[in-house]
Amino acid sequence: MRVDDLPLPPKVIEVVRRRGIEELYPPQEEAIRAGVLERRNILLSTPTASGKTLVAELAMVKNVLEGYGKAIYLTPLRALATEKFEEFRVWEELGIRVAISTGDYDSRDAWLRNYDIIVTSLPEDEVTVVISRGELIHTTFRELLNRVDDLFHVLSVDVENLQVVEAIPSLLIRYPYSGPVIELEFCNGRSVRVTPNHSIYVFDRNEVKLYEAQYVKRGMKVPAVQDGVLKSLEVKRVSWINYRGYVCDFSVPGYENFIAGDACVLCHNTYEKLDSLIRHRAPWLSDVGTVVIDEIHMISEVKRGPTLEMLITKLRKRLRGIQLIALSATIGNPEEIASWLGATPIVNTWRPTPLKEGVYVDGTVEFSDGTIKKLSPEPLPYSLVRDCLLEGGQVLIFVSTRQRAVQLAEKLSDYVRKLLDSDDLGRLSSVAEEIYQVSEASRIGEQLAKLIQCGVSYHHAGLSHAQRRVIERAFRSRVLKVVVATPTLAAGVNLPARRVVVYDYRRYEPGRGYVPITIMEYKQMAGRAGRPQFDEYGEAILIARCLEEKRYLMERYILANPEPITSKLATESSLRTHVLATIAEGFAKTIGDVEEVLKLTFYFHQQKLVSDFGFKALMRSTLTYLESRGFISVNGDEVKVTNLGARVCELYIDPETASIILSGLRSRKQLSELGYLYLIALTPDIPRLYVRRSEVEKYVELLEKYRSVLPLDVSEQYGFVDVEDQVPVLKTAYLLYRWINEASEDEIVEEFDVGSGDLRSYVELGEWLLYSAHSLAKLLGLKQHAGALNVLMRRVKYGVRAELLELVENLEGVGRVRARYLYRYGFKTLRDIAEAPLEKLMKVPTIGPTLARRIKEQASELLKRGVTEVSYHREKRSSLGGEVLEGYGRKVDKVRKTLLDYLRESNE
């Protein structure tokens, strides 16, 4: 089928043709014939690079242009969302607005962490918000939408401390609205317009309270921000105006408000998630006409699958008459998924470049089509790369563990280097330079740079985002010749190569040992072989040691069909999380409603024939669990979420996590910093580090040493009874403990045997869980805990001791290392820096003339605005409570042992 013949407006066809597409691929054609452009639900299960995205894109564009409302495109990975967003922006010339919402690093919104959305919407409106980048700018919402990808900050107010802070918004939404808006005019002549049910802050005696705008009366005073300073403004006039147009909404993670309007009034936002949008934003949501779900086979993932499954379920329940387009890799049971979605399955194994799959044994590769290829007479792994590289191809090798990836890359490096010419080497050294620049842990940076100079690299989840991006880019531009990767790469980024070698078909799983990878995983890896523009064909090669094994691999992987995907919803953890969410989000008011929602899930769809009885029992036990922990109340058939439950749901933590945290906090007035970290390391939301046999002794000793400050009663209560259960918890907590006590990244990587990417994700997780613990403590009025947790959370975010918070939180360009140097050289506060002569600042290591000037300017500016000074003193006080372990607040660095240690020593 030719692009010209598509039932689409000429301007759409024009855009497609400009991309160089004239002819549709067979699976695309099949989708068109199946009615994807006539709003039929479609499940497209085809190999990578067979053009699935284009199908979805055409359907979305057609629907938007024909007035079927907005389209949502869901992707499982942040990186993919950015990629798609960039791709879709070509449609802006047709007047289609494209926006992206990803849970960025600052967002604690787990839903957004897991699934990114892109919203396309229709144009026009001017709502003023105040944003800042060093200075205050008044801008329109439309303008903001155009700028979503460059990082801007909005001003927000920390109501508790009454100080102005900056935050990065995580979600931007505008939707059509027609109805009344309220205009509030203030004594300074300025005004703000909001919808009647929008919350704004109002002074009520000595407190700041939230009022819906419709209840705001003349004479009330509201906090507002002028020139960065909090002021009180009196309401002079309230008028209701009829309005027709767009209104906007966005969320600011961490602070539940932002500053809006000419009057700079504080407006509250509801800590948006798409789920809560489903509830509150009916006007916006009912305007959605198309939902695309990319990588729907992720449903079978243990961790994120259930979230995706429930999201699809809820979207379908709330939005009738939408078109669903599900995209998937090759799976075993496309029909089953399709029938759940009410979609037509399209299954096609066509690929733009032919794929040859084979098994290597003893120097030759035997392909499934019967052909045989003799490789160079060198041992493994050299023979696998030689011919391919010499013919101008690239090789992607999958191994089972990170360690093996590093080893194999090192083994290959010298060999590959000899096969390269001087052009290659020149380009490689600039990539090596780049990777060194982006690496924070210098040891890993050096190692990678050395490998990359030889044209080889490894790639695994332990590397930081920046490192991975450099490697991926160098491989795509064909500068890098060989990449050795762990299976995580297969599931994520699209990184094709002429030859894919599946070096290990087993992978290590903690607790289970080596298990063979699934057929789906193999197919995903093999699918990476062959780059459409550069290769005539792709080769996927498995490695066998003997003929027996060769036959086994041929049958088990190459000739086999992928496994069916299955729902993972029916685990205790997912059920309690999602049942709670279903109730909290207002989808269920009775037990019957819960059942009804669950019956719409893929889990039920797959299981219903087997046992309705078992399903009911599972649901009952989940409800009992939630009730016993105080997250919901059950009255006859009626179910209601409690305040606590609602908060748990908002925080997106496993209810069990909340339960563990609360047991720890309620049973004592305070905990040491290591104690808090231990508590969050007990929760199911954090994967615990593996303790090697050689390390056991060290951690058992630490456990003894810190016994008195750890909440061991809680760990026993939740099944971590024996020392061997407690040791991994302690190790995990100890990693964060070392981080906040300013161990260097290199030291941590070395001591805990983790990659810097792992460290990042532990830091993120730690911050998120401490934030959750902090909010729970606040909700329950456990003030001492809340204060200590607030400081600890911020320390985890920056990896510093409390005394450096003032510097790292306020000064751009000052991280943990620079802050420590500044502190050591006597610049302990913003005031010290603002008052310091430039020459003195420049003497501080790592601070050059430009940075010195910049931080001095920032510090003076902040002081002028009076933004920070108060906050620090508050922290100092609360941090004393939190630092049970080593005391002294500010001066902690000099105390090594506690008094008890001394006393015990002398008593021995």
């Binding site: 008195s708 001066k891 001394y902």
Partner: protein
């Protein structure tokens, strides 16, 4: 589980409680037929308080069996602030409540809830000190206040000839000497010269309050070891502080 005791000098009692409250928010009194004891670490585990009052220190004392009373020192401190000169103070526990009576021109009764504090058994310190100095407590207080002007750490030094309190920072140096002939030095024993530094924040909190209780203080320490400051209570008993050193 009950007891009752009367301390004849409410102001003295108030000073004792205030000096404990300077470091500790909550702690447990252990009341036995023999007397009252309290041992607690400050929240940062840098300092420890050890109070011992024999039953003879009280005007009236009755206790049949060991009773533990957890109290919030901040609250208690506020109550005792209400004491006047010549008042007496009575403590009584009955029915799960602590009754504090201030007996003067009128009898005022305050009732406090008991709080449950996880009992951590703290070791009896047996540090091998190499220097023991007994001196006037207000002389020490003055020296500590001087040091606070200069630095946030104070250094104690005991040599053959003299005991010295020193402080140094980029603001300047301070040295207060107590020679063997000095009038403030009452007793002085050095088995081995000793030098150690301590946090002034803590030292100040300890000395400023406790100097009101007793005229004399005994300072015991050793190189880079904790320091013990003992204040003898005039009516009987003693209050000892232990403080961990600051390592440079």
């Amino acid at each position: 589980m009950s007891f009752r005791f009367v301390f004849s000098d409410a102001r003295e009692w108030r000073y004792i409680i205030e000096s404990i409250a300077a470091l500790i928010e909550e702690a447990t009194f252990v009341v036995t037929p023999e007397g009252v004891k309290l041992r607690a670490l400050d929240p940062s585990r840098v300092a420890m308080v050890d109070l011992e009052l024999p039953s003879t220190a009280f005007e009236e004392y009755s206790c049949e069996a060991e009773t533990r009373v957890g109290v919030n020192f901040d609250d208690m401190k506020k109550i005792l602030k209400r004491c006047k000169k010549d008042d007496k103070v009575e403590y009584e526990v009955a029915g799960g409540k602590l009754k504090i009576k201030i007996i003067g021109k009128a009898t005022r009764s305050f009732v406090l809830p008991l709080i449950d504090i996880g009992a951590e058994t703290l070791p009896t310190p047996r540090v091998a000190f190499t220097a023991r100095v007994k001196l006037l407590s207000d002389a020490v207080e003055e020296a500590i206040r001087d040091a606070e002007v200069i630095a946030d750490t104070v250094k104690l030094e005991a040599s053959e000839e003299m005991f010295a309190i020193k402080a140094m920072s980029d603001k300047g140096d301070l040295e207060v000497q107590f020679g063997r002939e000095s009038g403030s030095l009452i007793e002085y024993e050095v088995t081995e010269p000793a030098v150690a530094s301590y946090s002034l924040e803590y030292m100040g909190d300890i000395v400023k309050k406790s100097a009101k209780i007793a005229d004399l203080v005994t300072i015991e320490f050793a190189t880079n070891k904790p320091v013990a400051l003992t204040f003898e209570i005039p009516l009987g008993g003693r209050l000892v502080y232990y403080l961990a050193p600051r390592m440079e």
